[in-house]
Amino acid sequence: MKCTKCSKQAIFHITDLTGDELLALHLCHDCAKEYLHNEEGDDESGQMSSVISQQLSPLQQTTEEVRELDARECPICGISYYEFRQGGRFGCPHDYVCFEQDLEQLLENVHGATVHVGKQPLRGVRDTESQTELIRLRREMKEAIENEDYERASSLRDKIRSVETEGQKR
């Protein structure tokens, strides 16, 4: 893995969780020394946010492409890629499917790999589509209640129950 500030081998891997922004830093010895030394300084934070946004928006993309990507939303939880970039956290498991292609480069940068080779759930890899569906249905129900559309909310509630009982049968 390369240093995020220069091209040397990264030795220090720092995940900084101050504030809302997530900073995943991979630094070589010299840059780490400088970073750790300057950590107290307030003006550092601005500089660091640019490091993470570099990580999260590949340079080869044009502004137009980035804007398009930023605007994309997950149909299940409603989070946009822009919101993910800002907070460094996803909104639901489906985001990994929804943003899969854009994520690949990020995973390669962070992990040096894109495929899991470790443990699998004991009961095997199950079809979790109906579970993902529950996330969307619950969100839609919340929205219906907020909009005082109680008819829709109650039909959604029935749907949620039927998916839940379906899930328990399996």
């Binding site: 220090f12 950590e39 956290r89 498991p93 962070v110 759930p121």
Partner: protein, 357 residues
């Protein structure tokens, strides 16, 4: 289980046993897991969080294999109690300071802790005394299987266990070894060790220090990547680098003993003397001095103290622990006085306080 009880007892990982325990304080593994049918925490509203917490609590309480876990409702705790759990490494700062329904399940020996509604729905953690990563993995793997028998995890065939932050995806596993490196700090070799640890990732972190400041000469060796390597491979990587760090620290200790014995003995004795006689002392200075005393005990320079006693002092002189032990709220100045009194009592020259054992 009451929190006052916790304050007055000793977590098993502090008992100072296990392989390499003169240098390795503890071995810790944590797994990040999420349920498949809820959004990740940042998209959960209060109702989602409450439902999630009660679902997890229900399923785990109903599992016979996990019946010795007690749930603590973190949302209901006051600031001091939350801080106590942080100082004890049972919950993270993030869980202590966040909002909404959240809890932690702990076993009586404090080897296992299970945070609900932290950054991920579930954060399972096992801590062992000394260097025992295989033991920690065996236990946490089993606990993970038990939990999964009642819940469906968010899992992707290609990406593995799905986590709120893509830096944890795959195994969701963080392996950390807490090492005590006073001799490398004294001989100013610590940076060189970091450089030679190029193969894997050395995260520099103090035991309780804010940010990256390594208080009490405690450093944490841990893996950064979680994807593309199996759990066993990640453990091997951390083990490998830990072995190197241990070897360096031993060499530095040998050097101090052989070449600088007077200096070393002086440093250790002064530290011990200050801890015994100070009238007021900050947490930071306490950690610094305890670190030297701990090394002195390990090198046989101080005869009447045991490692578990020192390990406990690191924890019990922390702000929340001090206040819990004294059962009163204390401001910083009062704490510095009480800390000095406490150390004075615990480090009396002749007899050991029975409370320590």
């Amino acid at each position: 289980m009451s929190l006052n009880e916790i304050a007055n007892r000793c977590g098993e990982w502090l008992r100072g046993s296990g392989p390499e325990s003169d240098i390795v304080m503890s071995s810790r593994i944590r797994l990040a897991r999420n349920l498949a049918d809820y959004p990740f925490i940042r998209r959960c509203n209060d109702i989602d969080k409450a439902n999630l917490e009660s679902t997890v609590r229900e399923r785990i309480s109903g599992n016979e294999q996990l019946s010795d876990l007690s749930f603590i409702n973190v949302a209901e705790l006051d600031l001091l109690d939350r801080q106590l759990l942080v100082e004890r490494q049972l919950i993270s700062r993030e869980l202590a300071n966040s909002d909404g329904a959240r809890s932690v399940a702990i076993d009586p020996q404090e080897r296992l802790s299970l945070m609900v509604n932290e950054e991920d729905h579930l954060r399972i953690q096992v801590i062992k005394s000394g260097l025992d990563l295989d033991g920690a993995w065996q236990q946490i793997n089993q606990v993970d299987d038990e939990i999964e028998s009642g819940l469906t995890y968010a899992f992707h065939p290609k990406l593995g266990y799905l986590t709120a932050c893509p830096t944890n995806v795959g195994t969701g596993m963080r392996v950390s070894v807490l090492v005590h490196l006073p001799a490398l700090v004294i001989t100013k070799r610590i940076e060189r060790v970091f450089r030679s640890a190029q193969k894997i990732n050395l995260v520099v972190r103090g035991l309780y220090g804010e940010g990256t400041q390594a208080m009490g000469d405690f450093y944490q060796v841990s893996n950064q990547i979680t994807l593309g390597k199996s759990e066993t491979q990640l453990i091997e990587l951390v083990q490998e680098i830990t072995d190197i760090v241990i070897e360096y620290e031993r060499k530095a200790r040998d050097f101090l003993i052989n070449e600088k014995q007077n200096d070393l003995f002086d440093k250790v004795s002064r530290a011990y003397g200050l801890l015994q006689n100070a009238q007021q002392i900050s947490s930071e200075e306490t950690m610094h001095l305890l670190s030297r005393v701990r090394m002195g005990v390990n090198l046989g320079l101080i005869g009447n103290l045991e490692i578990p006693d020192i390990n406990q002092l690191f924890i019990r002189t922390q702000p929340a622990h001090l206040q819990k032990i004294h059962q009163t709220e204390l401001d910083t100045d009062q704490r510095n006085i009480e800390r000095a009194n406490y150390l004075h009592d615990q480090l009396k020259l002749d007899t050991q306080d029975p409370e320590m054992n």
